[in-house]
Amino acid sequence: MKPVDPQNPTGLVLNIQHFCTHDGPGMRTTVFLKGCSLRCKWCSNPESIHPKPELAYDNKKCIGKKQCGFCLKPPFPENAFYVIDGPDDRVHVNWDLASECGQDCASICPTGAIYLFGQKMTVDQVLDEVDQDSSFYRESGGGITLSGGECLLQPDFAAALLKGAHERGIDTTIETACNVPWRFVEQVLPHVDTMLHDHKLTDPVRYRKWTGVDNSRILENFKKAYEAFPNTRFIARTPLIPGVNDDEAHIRSVLAFIRPYKNVIDYELLPYHRFGESKYSFLGRIYEMEDFHAPTEESLAHLRAIIDEQFGRKRAS
């Protein structure tokens, strides 16, 4: 195995998305890191969850057994791929048997129907790509945003990347749920200008039910971060899931938590969407939120009005 260069650490990057307008101030380039310590049932980026490169399959790109069929032979694991009798000879994936597939398998598929989510990248590789948009950052007040997954789960890489961005004069933002040891937060936050952080639920039991963990360490991390980094801008966020956390009590409890800290400059609501639903099928997983819908405009407006009132501002109707 190649030794890790401490001067230029590598990270597992899922995707680099340019011209993002919802991931911090101005026009931003968002770098999605792979690996997450939560399992939110509404997750819109399921491909970001596992901390390893992961096989995915888009059957729309498959040209079928007659014209291709490479995946039905070695080195693909036996029975990992198969075809159903009938008019459609495109390949199906037996996800239980395909789990050992890796880069070798993905590279054999000529149409790219079989591919991998996640690749190792160095800090310089990422920054060189991010730097391409630097003129947009200057114009819009934007910069780089680290997202995920949970970007703080790769603290060495995240810290080096953000430090490198600062050295190139690029503004830095991270999106985090903060379910990580405090030492990770402490390592990365000195290089962060703005931290977008999720208050998904208030009650620890309900937090655990919907995300897999309780939120006591998360809340503790938030408080420590607010206090230890007074010059960092913090923006609280709630992904608003109808029937889970779209109640007034939750919004008010988040406000009560953040308002004593002057460096928490805003609280945003992110209405639940189903963008991620398709990706569950790419990965052979089941989307557990299939019966949930986006919050109504009325409910959203009502909750946003409560936040605006607390922040002493009026929203244009």
């Binding site: 993002c20 491909e47 009798d85 991620g276």
Partner: protein
């Protein structure tokens, strides 16, 4: 009391099906003749992996007395396991992080600790693959095929299908009456992603006007023509039954995905663009909505979409499933007695045979073009969309 000659276990490694307790009856009665001890594992393999989650124990000591007092139509004694996979067990680590851990070795060790020499597992396509993986690691797993869609190719009839079919027929009958009384076209979606046995057999039973199947790509104009002629003859209603995996023969027509993602844009999610998400397996009900909308356009008649979804998995087991469950349970014990390892119990009338798991996986039992049911539907004038 004599020492049992052998100890075996049974679990439900799939979702709920009516009459699961019938399989237990078959296993227990046959095992009793052999003086075998039978334990039940709760909720797939959870009962043995996480005994602390259960009051008492995750294993249930089964006896004929216990099983005979449980109604075949009652709650499954051993629970269900719609997502039980010992290779990916969601676990909270010491660092408070959620991870999926491979606990297959632990499972095999615990089975050994309990002196369990074989496991009879009731389940469909996914449990079959997991059982094969466990068999490759040394478990003697015997699969009783269970599927509401009857899609396990290695057997003629999966346990649970007949009861589900009966339930679908009842619900379609109600849908037909609703269509009649409201003078509309009822478009009803039923389970069947890869094969349309439920839609076809139930559609024939209730005299549907059209049945759309994954096996036969449909042309909606042909369906509309059939419906228009029915309305022209004076009958003011119609019933269309569609399996959820039915596909149109031309991309210019609405398929199941046509309306599902129309309003989506991906500003926050990598790779979730409309183009990338356009082919996905739809959640239940989208096909019915898309078909109803387009048929309304093509026929100028009011339509109503209806998705039966999970409703069809309830209800009482039929006599066929009760017999089949008992027979499968008895055959699974016979397989162990005959030293079969890693097999699926297969009903191939008039016999019950044993098919190696490696030959049973990845094969879907689809409807052949020359099937008696297809011929029957055509002779009844049911439009199949081709």
């Amino acid at each position: 009391m004599t020492t049992p000659a052998k100890k075996i276990a049974i679990n439900n490694s799939g979702g709920y099906l009516p009459g699961l307790n019938s399989v237990l009856l078959g296993v227990l009665r046959t095992a009793a003749h052999l003086n075998w001890d039978v334990v039940g594992i709760r909720d797939g393999f959870d009962g043995i992996l996480f005994p602390e989650r259960y009051s008492g124990d995750g294993l249930v000591q089964l006896s004929l007395e216990l099983v005979e007092t449980v109604l075949p139509s009652g709650t499954p004694l051993l629970g269900t396991a719609s997502s039980s996979d010992p290779y990916h067990v969601r676990t909270l680590t010491a660092e408070n992080q959620v991870e999926e851990i491979d606990k297959s070795d632990e499972l095999l060790r615990k089975l050994q600790d309990h002196n369990i020499s074989a496991v009879i597992s009731v389940g469909g396509m996914q449990p079959l693959s997991i059982l094969l993986k466990l068999q490759r690691k040394g478990l003697n797993g015997i699969c009783v095929p269970a599927s509401v869609e009857n899609d396990v190719a290695a057997t003629q009839l999966s346990f649970g299908f007949n009861s589900t079919l009966s339930c679908v027929v009842d619900l379609l009958e109600n849908a037909r009456h609703a269509a009649q009384s409201s003078r509309k076209i009822g478009v009803v979606e039923v389970l069947g992603e890869h094969t349309g046995w439920l839609a076809l057999q139930a559609g024939i039973a209730v005299g549907a006007d059209a049945v759309l199947l994954p096996e036969i790509p449909y042309d909606l104009r042909k369906v509309a023509k059939k419906l228009r002629s029915k309305f022209a003859s004076g009958q003011q209603y119609a019933l269309v039954v569609a399996a959820e995996g039915a596909r149109c023969s031309s991309h210019s027509e609405p398929g199941p995905t046509a309306i599902a993602h129309a309003s989506l844009k991906a500003s926050l999610s990598p790779l979730a663009t409309r183009a990338a998400s356009a082919h996905v397996i739809q959640r239940s009900g989208h096909l019915a909505e898309a078909l109803a909308l387009e048929l309304q356009r093509l026929t100028d008649q009011q339509t109503y979409p209806l998705s039966l979804g999970q409703l069809i998995k309830g209800g009482a087991p039929t006599a066929v499933d009760r017999q089949l469950g008992v027979a499968y349970g008895a055959a699974a014990v016979r397989a162990i007695r005959e030293n079969q390892r890693g097999v699926l119990v297969s009903f191939q009338p008039p016999k019950v045979k044993f098919v190696p798991l490696s030959e049973a996986i990845n094969k879907i039992r689809t409807i052949p073009p020359n099937s008696l049911f297809i011929e029957t539907a055509r002779s009844l004038g049911i439009c199949l969309g081709d």
